[in-house]
């Protein structure tokens, strides 16, 4: 296959994956709509609902596979072939792919059926945004990006982003459920989405597990592989570049989250709020910084200046 064919394949795969995600979302929405009328106490859900749930998950898995083809196509379309995260569009595609993949892998282990509509909805919208706003055709990377660290550094950052995103969803649901329990402690509703979401204790634990997985991976990406690569490419392992600063901020906020979970008075609600702040800094760093701070050496949004074209500087004679 030629590079152009690979690129066309990738674009088609993105479109098809979008449609399949949408169908999965529909299946889950119909499932939850059906569940709305059934009291939580009724342990056996109707067969129709169980079927819809399974259908939704299977469609998500199918979409995830097609999503992978889209990424593969991007990588193969480049000359020379490379990993498919050289610009914002590809990075967003890869990030949302890992969100789905992590969700599917952990689906059984953490019984994540309650998370299905949110995850699928999130991935679908992220993909849409990427196609509409961030799309850019396949192009060779700038020189500094040709490094084995591109694979290691970015893969770990993207995996951590996926885990933090799922953890953030759990934390957000924790806050919603917690608020409802506080408002009406005596007569809890017996139907509806929030009634079926697991208890706050379980939500808190799932959220913690996901964050506890993401945090070391993030540490590895941001504080080990990042500085090693920065040293090789930019001659200094920590430059206080805006992207680095925000990655550090994210790290500190998530460290605060882990501490908050073991501090009296900060458990539960406050910890969940800190987790969401962490998620906000993470996504701001991922997208926002590229547009707000044009001085970042990480700026791969739009036509980034090549690292090698030196910035004019004022040497004294």
């Amino acid at each position: 296959m030629t590079d152009a064919q690979w690129e066309a394949l990738s674009n088609q795969a993105v479109a098809v994956a979008g449609v399949v995600y949408f169908l999965a979302l529909l299946a889950h929405l119909v499932e939850w709509e059906a569940l709305r009328r059934i009291p939580v106490e009724e342990s056996s859900s109707p067969r129709k609902v169980a079927l819809l749930e399974r259908l939704g998950v299977m469609l998500t898995a199918l979409a995830c596979g097609i999503h992978f083809v889209a990424l593969l196509g991007r990588g193969m379309a480049a000359d020379p072939n490379r990993v498919p995260w050289g610009n914002m569009y590809e990075f967003t595609l890869a990030g949302s792919f890992f969100v789905t993949l992590l969700y599917l892998v952990l689906y059984r282990r953490f019984s994540l059926s309650w998370m299905a509509p949110i995850v699928v909805g999130f991935v679908l919208s992220t993909m849409m945004l990427a196609v509409v706003w961030l799309y850019s055709p396949v192009a060779p990377l700038t020189e500094a990006l040709y490094s084995p660290w591109l694979v290691i550094h970015v893969v770990s950052a993207v995996i951590a982003t996926g885990a933090f995103t799922l953890g953030g969803i759990a934390s957000a649901l924790y806050l919603l459920k917690d608020r409802r329990e506080r408002r009406k402690p005596e007569d809890q509703p017996h139907t509806g989405y929030l009634a079926r979401v697991p208890s706050t204790t379980t939500l808190d634990r799932v959220s913690y597990r996901l964050h506890a997985f993401g945090f070391p991976v993030w540490t590895f990406a941001v504080l080990i592989t990042g500085p090693i690569w920065a040293h090789e490419a930019w001659s200094s392992y920590w430059n206080w570049d805006p992207k680095e600063v925000w990655a550090f901020i994210t790290w500190v906020v998530y460290a605060a989250y882990l501490h908050a979970r073991t501090t009296a008075g900060w458990r539960g609600r406050n910890a969940a709020i800190i987790a969401l702040i962490g998620l906000a800094t993470l996504w701001f760093n991922f997208i926002g910084i590229n547009f707000f701070a044009d001085s970042s050496q990480h700026s791969y949004a739009g036509d980034a200046p090549d690292v090698i074209t030196t910035e004019p500087y004022s040497a004294r004679a």
Partner: protein, 538 residues
Amino acid sequence: MTQSEGARSRGRASELGVVELLRWTWRQLTSMRTALVLLLLLALAAVPGSVIPQEDVDSLATSRWQDAHPTLTPVYERLGLFSVYDSPWFAAIYLLLMISLVGCIIPRTGVYWRALRARPPRAPRNLTRLPDHTTYESDLEPQAALELAGRVLKERRYRVEAGADAQSSDGAGWVAAERGYLREAGNLLFHLSILVVLVGFAMGSLFGYKGGVIVVVGNGFSNNLTQYDEFVPGSLFREEWMEPFAFDITGFDIEWLTSGRAAGQARKFVSHLTFTEYPGAKEQEYDLRVNHPLSIGGTDIFLIGHGYAPVITIRDGNGDVAYSGPTVFLPTDATFRSFGVVKAPDAQPEQLALEGELYPTFGFEADGIGPYSAFGDALDPVISMTVWTGDLGLDDGVSQSVYVLDTSAAEQVTKEDGSMFRLDLRPGEEAELPDGLGTVSFDGLERWNKIQISRTPGMLVALTGVCLALLGLIGSLYIRPRRVWVRTRRTAGRTIVEVGGLDRSSGGDVAAELDEIVRSMNEHERDGDDEGAEVSRQ
């Protein structure tokens, strides 16, 4: 006497007050809550540095910003907002955090040391009061069931302690078990490693240096202060630590993409170096590329930029060569349209200077765009310069940038009729200046490389620190410390086995663990594969 006693007791009271205050402050500072607040503060304090240009990161952007915001600049300067990460208030936060960290881990290490050697605590009287517990009936004698529990728990790598209740007559007893001791070790390692990282980082910024130099291809560099264009030393840096290496750039290769989406981009930059580690050492060669620095001793050498240096000769009105040589022009965009200044202070009768641009591949568009560079490669280079004469401001002793022309006391050269005069030259061309000021020739085009040289001691210390921190982190997050107790008692000819567990981390699922323990005990009991159970079976 009463008076002095009173004074003494007052003194003691205030002393006590001070000590208590200190103790209180220390307790507050080292509390988890303070650490948490400090962490959040640290995150918040790091934000301005990513929004406001930083002196150490991008001095040019900083001075531009300062020019654009004359009213804010003095305020920001006082607050240290142009170098947030060196500012006292930023340092205050992380130093407090470090004190809090040390104050936290020292006592915890002591506690951990004692806990490591302690036996698991005896079982609570009523296991069903624990949040996670389970009960089942067994055919075994209470004592045998306890032995079995001990074995199962040991298999699951628990530290096990057995005991009997003093006042019970029916053989009731308990087994206490604990595991996951390494979690706290991981936790302590993680926090200690942060100190190691800080030490490594501090070593780099105190004793290291970072400098840049632009070297025209064909020329050389030797590592001493006078050769640098820019030099940022650490605060305790000493010049004699600079390693006495030298190198020549013998060639520079570059590959321009002429087709495809990235047409106009360049890649595969290679700078060919010959270097000596110290004067008189054997000459070695190295191909310097992006992402592939050259290390000489503790110093690293990087290729971070390139550009063009037109070779320009200025002859003055007397016909003498006032200036000749390659002049570094700085690229202003990706097409390598470059800006440069040539100064000839020795020209007679008056000083001469050129200011203008180089277009590596010249293009011209009439509708207001004017001259531009169509491509980064030097396919059709043209220099287009204006000429200045008069006082260039070089004689008053104030140092001046070689890339900026001070035109305050100089006069732009015009044609005889007063209209604009521009030199537009291709390589090999020469032009005469009006008024017999002299001639200018564009003799050829050379290249320059921007080389960054840095020495960062403590880098390996910092790296080791982070790796240890990661190891400790993994231990502290994934090792699940828990306590499990098993109690047995005899009721109506049956043995009641109670199993209770306590999660000592945050996030462990003890209920599942208890289920597995009970399942394993039931399996052992059913299979009867243990002799102890066999003997005591009724």
